[in-house]
Symmetry: C2
Subunit: 437 residues, 2 copies
């Protein structure tokens, strides 16, 4: 009986702070990093599963330790049982009572669970010879519902209600898979808008983004209101009136600061305002949203778990949400969030960029379209053109759209050469550079 024989971890860091790629109002000098996990098995095909947490440098070692702390819950488990009961598998990780104390279900320990859960999904989808999006899409509504932990969200969506919603969506699956394979899924890009870029670079990259077919671009804001007004004007002039312009404040503001700031940005007809304040502040988002209506408010990339997403929906605190593939407890918890978003009619614009986040989250957005919300035309997946070369099955963007992945698994596997080069602190990239993390 094949079992999971080992849980390997790697501390991978890219010295991105040298170029100010990824710089924003909260994160001036990120070194994009991954706490990478490999589940190994003694299956006859040498089946493996990969997952990771995305971090921005220091602390990636702590994150790796947290993943290792899950080893006793994983190694020795029956591969077939894990692959056929991913809901029970995920819950067994969140239910370790001693580890749960370190959250519960938030922060370092919860992201570690997310990485291991995602690695198990990668393994299960490879075993089924399907990309993860299709692996989910091919599940019955009852199977999808069984993936979700309804604990603490049953007052917003009861299990029976979730199942009904999935059943209503099921009849259209085949047709939607055809559409997805033909058209792909809309992407928007943040590549022009990092805070560390000059005005000239912003204008040039914004025009290039429109030429490349992107329907929306996003700028980082929040450090200086005058700079933001100027940069929004430059961007709007570069892209014209018909391309979407979103802004992202990366949690920079208090509620009372966000409201007048956004009044100043109102003339630029923003597609949305992302992370105006603390990701923990459900009521703060609701207050801001009401005050600046109809400017659309959003958050989610740092939303810690389904319980906070639930409240964002209940409080009508957001017009749309980001989901992040590696922040919450893996695919299972993201399915819970997607199901609630569908029920509440909230649009989902997945967070990506970082290291491998585009690769992962495309699967979730596509599964949502095919099997959950049934919607794709009113939403878009973030795209940042960074670090894809380190992955075996990188995202494919054509004319501003993500093409549906075709290889089995979660597109999570990093190239061996990249793992070796960017291992911290002993990889060649770190030994040879005069860079200090």
């Amino acid at each position: 009986m094949p079992v999971i024989t080992e849980l390997d971890t790697h501390d991978i860091r890219f010295p991105t702070s040298l170029e100010l790629d990824g710089s924003d109002a909260m994160n001036p000098d990120p070194d994009y990093s991954a706490s990478y996990v490999v589940l190994r098995t003694n299956d006859s095909t040498e089946l493996q599963g990969r997952g990771f947490v995305f971090t921005i440098g220091r602390g990636n070692d702590v994150q790796v330790e947290a993943i290792r702390a899950l080893r006793h819950l994983v190694v020795g488990r029956d591969v077939a049982a894990v692959c056929s009961e991913l809901g029970a598998f995920a819950r067994s990780l969140t239910d370790d009572s001693q580890l749960r104390w370190l959250g519960p279900e938030k922060g370092v320990m919860h992201m570690a669970i997310g990485a291991v859960v995602n690695a198990a999904w990668d393994m299960a989808a490879r075993r089924a010879r399907k990309p993860v999006w299709q692996f989910i899409a091919d599940m019955s509504p009852a199977e999808i519902a069984s993936m979700i932990d309804f604990r603490y969200i049953s007052d917003a969506i009861a299990p029976g209600e979730g199942l009904e919603l999935l059943q209503q969506s099921a009849g259209m699956k085949r047709e939607r898979i055809g559409v997805l394979r033909q058209k792909g899924y809309s992407a928007y890009t943040t590549s022009p808008g990092w805070l560390g870029y000059s005005d000239e670079k912003l204008a040039r990259l914004a025009k290039e983004a429109v030429s490349a077919g992107f329907g929306t671009i996003k700028l980082k804001v929040g450090l200086s209101i005058e700079d933001d007004v100027r940069r929004c004007r430059i961007a709007r002039e570069a892209i014209g009136p018909h391309v979407g312009l979103a802004v992202d404040a990366n949690q920079r503001w208090d509620v009372g600061v966000a409201i007048p700031w956004l009044e100043r940005l109102r003339p630029f007809n923003l597609a949305w305002v992302e992370e105006p304040t603390s990701p923990d502040d459900v009521l703060g988002h609701a207050t801001i949203r009401k005050a600046v209506h109809p400017v659309p408010i959003s958050t989610g990339e740092h939303t810690q778990n389904r319980v906070v997403f639930k409240q964002l929906f209940q409080a009508q605190a957001v017009d749309l949400v980001q989901i992040d593939a590696a922040r919450v407890g893996g695919v299972n918890e993201n399915l819970a969030v997607l199901l609630m978003a569908a029920k509440y009619g909230v649009r989902v614009f997945p967070h990506a960029g970082g290291v491998g986040l585009c690769e992962l989250v495309q699967h979730l957005a596509m599964a949502d379209y095919v099997a959950i919300s049934g919607k794709m035309d009113d939403r878009s997946i973030e795209f940042v053109d960074h670090l894809h070369q380190h992955f075996i099955d990188p995202v494919r963007i054509r004319h501003g759209r993500y093409l549906a992945p075709e290889l089995p698994g979660f597109s999570a596997e990093m190239r061996p050469a990249s793992i070796s080069e960017f291992q911290f602190p002993n990889g060649s990239a770190w030994r040879t550079k005069a860079v200090n993390a």
Copy 2:
């Protein structure tokens, strides 16, 4: 110029699961543990500061790693500057942008910050030759306000408003210090109520608690409604009608489960119901509170930071709150919570027990009485009679009241012999026992 020369850490675990001490509905077999940190200096007195995170076993190693990840922000800093600007010191830890990504301000990384911040307060109070409660009480209102990070809470309490509130309280300080030294501070006890105890042990310990002078006892509930009804009846009969009876569900229920469950417990005239559901669910607590009114609802021991406390107050989700000395970002963030609680008129019943939590939190409650809320008669500090023997300056309980600590510092120092015996995994307690964590 004396500087902080080293940040030492220790993984300390006590095999408490052998006795079911500390067992509750979520945590059946905790091994009470501490991720212990010592700040060393080259001050002429060999000044040190101690702090810790309380955990319940597995994962204590991850927590220790997180504390070590803060070393670069601490070692080499000027002792006098840290001690005189503890607000800036705390903020410098939460503001490391790369580490902030791992929270922000929640979970493992935030608790690590809390331990280091508390160690700095221990150091500063020792240097001033005062217990921490008095070190705070002797600060001017402006100094106390400067300890608080108002970011993300300014919509609930602006800095100027906080300062005014502190100024209003300042005139009574001297008198209150006299009262506190004479009378101590009310304690309640959870020692009778662990879920793993037999009915007989519960009844016996409940009677002993009343005899010892405790005005309130607390029971763990949440696994079986029939058991809870029976145990509440036994406890109420043991303590009589005039002693307070609180219950603690340790996050066991969904909103829709909590409400009918609490209807069944209503006849026992509960002093409060603690942690009825997820600590992240502000709106859920508000819903439960409204439904079971006037049964008092509370949470806080797992509340991750001031942003969630703020919302509990804003949403009128709780009748009272617990604070925890080692869950949030240390003394500074607890001062923010205490100030908001005072403004919103919410009573504070500090969480204690665990390892050394009684030792720490007594200082915060006493500082609150003297310098912030000015209230003591309507509130009480949890007391559990566990593991105090491992501390140099253990709490002193007389007739159900905490006596004000007199030794300098935060009462956080563990005995060297205890550190050596309970080091995990190589201390003598772990080498000789047939215990596996």
